[in-house]
């Protein structure tokens, strides 16, 4: 939260929400700049939809403040917050045509029929549905329904666009296409947007900033690359992408991590960590070699299996650390690398863990 006061468009400050004995949101704070696209990501039940509903004014928070354009809107009902919402189910009115759905919120302000028709045409064009205006929702494809819902939410030029799992009901291909479309649209309109999703790829490709939530808490807030490259906790690391974890001891003076007779060199600041720590590395950061390579962080491994995954191969290995014990380790290598090394199951190989790619986490009790 480095943005200065003047840049802050939306700010959520220490919001807590309880449902009976269950704490759905616990002290959640974040801000958004004008035009920023935030994505709230987390497993189901983490509170991501609840925070969206609190920002919308649908589930007023028990504690904390929501500010929009500098005004405290905490006690304001949804009807006055000027937010556009797209729900997972789209909630299109089945008995109204696409046009009438889009015009639904406009009718009370635009009494002039021609002005109304023009505005609706413009909105339909915005989402690329000029031709489908007179169709009923059930006559539209899932992707088209999604666009109608988006046009309806944008109709009143809201201050904030809230998307609740907007793409989860769609086919994979349509989803990929709509991701780019929604992103381009919000950028063009300069629309500040919050999208809730459980799909990490969706969040990574669309958002300027990702907020990761777990058990009602905000656990990390950063750009997609920050979150991927420097996950704040093992939870984040395993939730975004995959990660190998090893728990062991830190030796500060030598900047090495130990488990049994295994010693891993670490090339990053180790001061925040105690004696016990968790080392981690992403599968795609591990290199696999079959020639006599030597040096720091090169380890003898037993390859169990090489699994074909299209663009990459996943290599499942065991890393011995003394006393006949082994640690499981997976690496993703490119098809090219796989060909060159000729690595295959039930053989021995070398695994190289680049010192600057090893992450460290505090050991959790």
């Amino acid at each position: 939260m480095t943005s200065t006061e003047s840049e802050t468009y939306l700010s959520v400050e220490r919001v807590t929400k309880r449902f009976g004995a269950f704490t759905a949101l616990s002290d959640v704070s974040f801000t958004a700049r004008r035009g920023e696209f935030l994505s709230i990501l987390g497993p189901s039940g983490c509170g991501k939809t609840t925070i969206l509903r609190a920002v919308a004014g649908l589930e007023p928070q028990d504690e904390g403040v929501v500010r929009l354009k500098g005004r405290d809107v905490s006690t304001m009902p949804v009807s006055k917050r000027h937010v556009g919402i797209v729900f997972q189910s789209y909630a299109l009115f089945p008995n109204l045509s696409a046009r009438d759905n889009v015009a639904y919120g406009l009718r009370k302000d635009l009494k002039d029929r021609r002005a109304l028709a023009e505005r609706v045409d413009k909105l339909l064009a915005l989402v690329g549905l000029e031709a489908a205006g007179n169709k009923y929702p059930s006559q539209l494809s899932g992707g088209q329904q999604q666009r109608v819902a988006l046009a309806r939410a944008l109709a009143l030029s809201p201050d904030l666009l809230l998307l609740d799992e907007p793409l989860s009901a769609l086919d994979a291909q349509v989803r990929v296409m709509l991701r780019a479309e929604i992103r381009a649209l919000t950028q063009r309109l300069g629309m500040t947007t919050i999208m809730v999703t459980h799909d990490q790829e969706e969040a990574m490709t669309m958002a300027d900033r990702i907020l990761i939530m777990n058990q009602g808490r905000l656990v990390q807030n950063g750009s997609p690359s920050d979150i991927y490259e420097a996950p704040a906790s093992p939870f984040v690391a395993s939730f975004i992408g995959s990660m190998n974890f090893v728990s062991g001891d830190m030796h500060w003076d030598s900047r090495t991590f130990h488990r049994g007779n295994l010693s891993v060199k670490i090339d990053r600041d180790v001061s925040p960590f105690g004696k016990e720590a968790v080392a981690a590395i992403r599968p795609e950061d591990i290199r696999v070699s079959t020639n006599g390579e030597a040096g720091p962080n090169v380890f003898e491994v037993e390859v169990d299996n090489v699994e074909y995954r299209g663009p990459v191969y996943r290599v499942t290995m065991r890393l011995p650390f003394g006393g006949g014990q082994t640690l499981p380790l997976v690496a993703d290598i490119t098809a090219d690398q796989a060909r060159r090394t000729g690595v295959s199951g039930r053989t021995r190989a070398k695994a190289i863990l680049p010192a600057d790619r090893v992450h460290l986490f505090r050991a959790e009790a």
Binding site: D62, S74, S79, K80, P94
Partner: protein, 583 residues
Amino acid sequence: MAQANQAAGAALPAADTFDRELWLKRALILLVSAWLVAVVILPLIQLLSKSLFDNHGVFVGLANYVEYFTTPELRRSIGNSVFVSVTTTVISVTLGFLFAYALTRTCIPLKGAFRGLAMMPLFAPTLLNGIALIYLFGRKGLITRGFFGAIPGFDIGLYGSTGIIISEVIFTFPQAMLILSVALRMTDARLYEASQSMGASRLRTFLTVTLPGVKYGLISAIFVCFILAFTDFGAPKVVGGQYNILATDIYKQVIGQQNFTMGAVVSVVLLIPTVLAFVVDRIAQRRQVALIQAKSVPLTPKPDKQVDGFYLAYCSFISLLILAFFATAAYASLVKVWPYKLELGLWHYQFRGTGGGGYGAFFNSVRMACYSAVVGTAVTFFSAYLIEKSRGMRALRQTSYFLSILPLALPGLVIGLAYIFFFNAPGWTFGGITIPNPFNWLYATMGILVLSNIVHFYSVSFLTATTALKQLDKEFETVSESLGVPFHITFFRVTVPVCLPAILEIAMYYFVNSMATVSAVIFLYSADIPLASVAIANMDDAGDIAPACAMSMLVVLANVAVRLLYGLLTRKVNRRTQAWTRR
């Protein structure tokens, strides 16, 4: 609420934080609860308290109950009522189960026709069941006299428990059949495949898969049949003879002996098993919900010559019986003097020289049924909408929900009697302060008749509306709110059009039942507003059975006409709905 930090950020004007919609909804739900308390709870309290006072208004505690239980003639009715209802329930549920099974699990032809015929008794006043039985098995009955002497006659001893049980079976059979059809339709084909793949016999499959699957439906059917038979008044009045049951006792105490106190006591006695059955049924229903939500593969019956043959014969037999039953009544209403002059004509449809009110009464009933349908449907649907589709206010909504399904436990006679006490009371005195009765003006008007019908048939309509509303996306209201559209606009533009089939069904249900009911209105009608069903009872009392039968046929005709109209409208609505879904 929010611990607003007002230091930074502008404070909002009060108008921006006031959620008019929310408060309006709250007020309306409160109003719904208040109205249900006023028309259900308060009259019941009045009835209960009446049973604790003597006829001069002196508090006597449980003395009336002591008197009731020490009077053998009165006490005997409890056993009689239980016997009649249990027997009815056993027969009805068995017959209904077989019929429902035939309609849902076999490949017999003419399912639609069988279903339609089986539902016929729903359109008739139960008084007609008794009257038709008199024409079949009475002293001059078709069977008793062997078809006017053509074959040797056979007297079943109709008057008494036999007649009551046959009438009630006819009355409750369609209900059992409908409930069990729903239960039998909701099954998972995979269970049957699993059972067959393990080589289970038919009987074993039936005992281990079919019966457990319809357990809750069966419980529901048993309790519904029991309540209906236990509280029905029409048929026992006509064919009960000297066989007293609780429902006829209430009538005799109140109308015959003007002993309102004892009427209240019998009502409370009638209410106890009914409320118990209601509670058990609600628990069973709640369990069933979980069953519906499970993902399952629908079962499509496979043809089987033997099985289909048996069920076709069975359904034809039952349908023929029902058809013959109504045909007899229709024929009897047209015959000049049964069984002596068998010329056909409309003599009995002129209602000359008989009491009851004739066509005036009939059209009063039609008017009353129309009002009940219009007002009842509007009130029920809107209440169900508020309770189902509002956010927050959980305690209030749950209370309203409970109050809405409570009338299911109230027999018509109890509602009628409670309403006499409640609406006729000039006022109430609490600790020296007298509150005048604000509803007193309703007494002896069309209003109280319509009100009693709305309350009497409220719960089933409410549940129909709730089921339909549950199928709508729960975010419709949220979307409208976020677009700043008031909820009443969304209610009329989206909710009502989408729920129109259910709304029509509710209206038809109100009309048909208001036309046919006699139990609640017999205490509430006034001399200047005679009603068809009451006229049937009074003509039957006076021995004018043929005109009573004719009036019953008019009620049936009106109901069948409304049912056809409903079918027509539904088809039209569905055509329009299909416009929304045509690809």
